[in-house]
Homo-oligomer: 206 residues x 2
DNA sequence: TAGATTGTTAATCGATTAACAATC
DNA sequence: TAGATTGTTAATCGATTAACAATC
């Protein structure tokens, strides 16, 4: 049953569930129903139950889901119960902004290295990390066991950076550059491009 | 036929087509087929033809699509042929990063005002704009005819900012805060949350 | 017990893809 | 003309939602 292929849509909702569950937990809420979750997250309760049921039977009939237990389970599913080291290339404003989110990610995922190709930026401190030159990327990624790479360089350099990440053995890449990057099948890429986001938003203006 | 409901998936692909078409145009490519586009963008050619066909007959059988003409058409569809003013609340690193993308957006969408609730930040210059206090938000948005609002404040403040935007009559909101904000039906919200993006990426690690 | 809510099956809905006549 | 490629219909695939027996 673990081998069942889970759709990307399901995986994308899990972090959203998790975030709200954490909020409930901080408010000392013990239990939550798919009804409650659906209302708050604007999702269909049946969908939430089905999403969770792909991974196990986490709820109790007549009661709902234990908040603490469900948090634990979703964290396991998303592999957030282990430390995951992340490296970032592109020490601009965006790179800086992302680095500062470290605190939010609660020590599970952590940006442990920052690189940039521009000589002027080498050595600058970003969130307690010294910006390193690209020449140190592969060695550093091996040494720190970095598994995820974040790209925050201009579009023209994104593919090169992706290639370096792949060479270094990174397993997944989050690309903020407004360009589609090509990587081998075994590397997972997500695109987080706010320009396309803004442009599609414009469509909905009157 | 213009009244046909276009799915969100289609609208999200249009900016991606546009971006690549602009690239082709800069390389002086005259014509492109759905085949070419599909290969480069990793999409099914039939899907691309169908997406475009929702809005008109933009191609020529046996030839493909005229790059310049298709750019023009997609820009019209996305309303990028008109000036759209954007306001941003949250003058942190992320807000600063987004403001700097103005150049990229080529004068169509333009961030014309930046606000922050923190007194220390008022008056600071971000990309030639003085950060304004929240008390000036509604007046400024009216005066500058701002139609889109961007939220780059911490999660706890995002809903308040959204409420202010709605009061000011903004038509659409792009929310970067890791929380789901509620707005009236007539206001469109897109969520661009990189923490959930990173967390779902973790799922695909081995 | 009665009420609530899960897990899951079946029904529905919507999106993607294949196929091909039309035609440049 | 022959080859290429569109626009579009039909087929397929997948995701969402409704419904409900099981059960806390």
């Amino acid at each position: 049953m673990k081998s069942l292929k889970i759709s990307e849509a399901v995986v994308r909702r899990l972090p959203i569930y998790l975030r709200f569950l954490n909020e409930l937990n901080m408010r000392n809420v013990q239990t939550v129903s798919s009804q409650d979750l659906g209302q708050k997250l604007e999702l269909n309760p049946a969908q939430i139950r089905k999403d969770l049921a792909y991974f196990g039977e986490f709820g109790k009939k007549g009661i709902g889901y234990d908040v603490v237990y469900l948090i634990e389970k979703i964290r396991q599913i998303l592999k957030l119960d282990q430390h995951i080291n992340v490296a970032l290339v592109g020490a601009g404003n965006l790179g800086r902004a992302l680095s500062n989110y470290n605190a939010y990610l609660r020590d599970n995922m952590k940006i442990v290295a920052v690189f940039d190709a521009v000589p002027d930026k080498i050595g600058a401190r970003i969130n307690n990390l010294a910006v390193q030159p690209m020449s140190e990327l592969i060695e550093t990624i091996h040494r720190l066991k970095v598994r995820i790479g974040i790209i925050t360089v201009p579009a023209g350099e994104a593919q090169n950076v992706a290639d370096e990440f792949v060479k270094a053995g990174v397993e997944a890449i989050l690309n903020f550059a407004p360009v589609i990057i090509k990587v081998p099948n075994e590397v997972r890429v997500h695109h987080a491009d706010f320009t396309t986001e803004l442009q599609s938003l414009a469509y909905y203006l009157d």
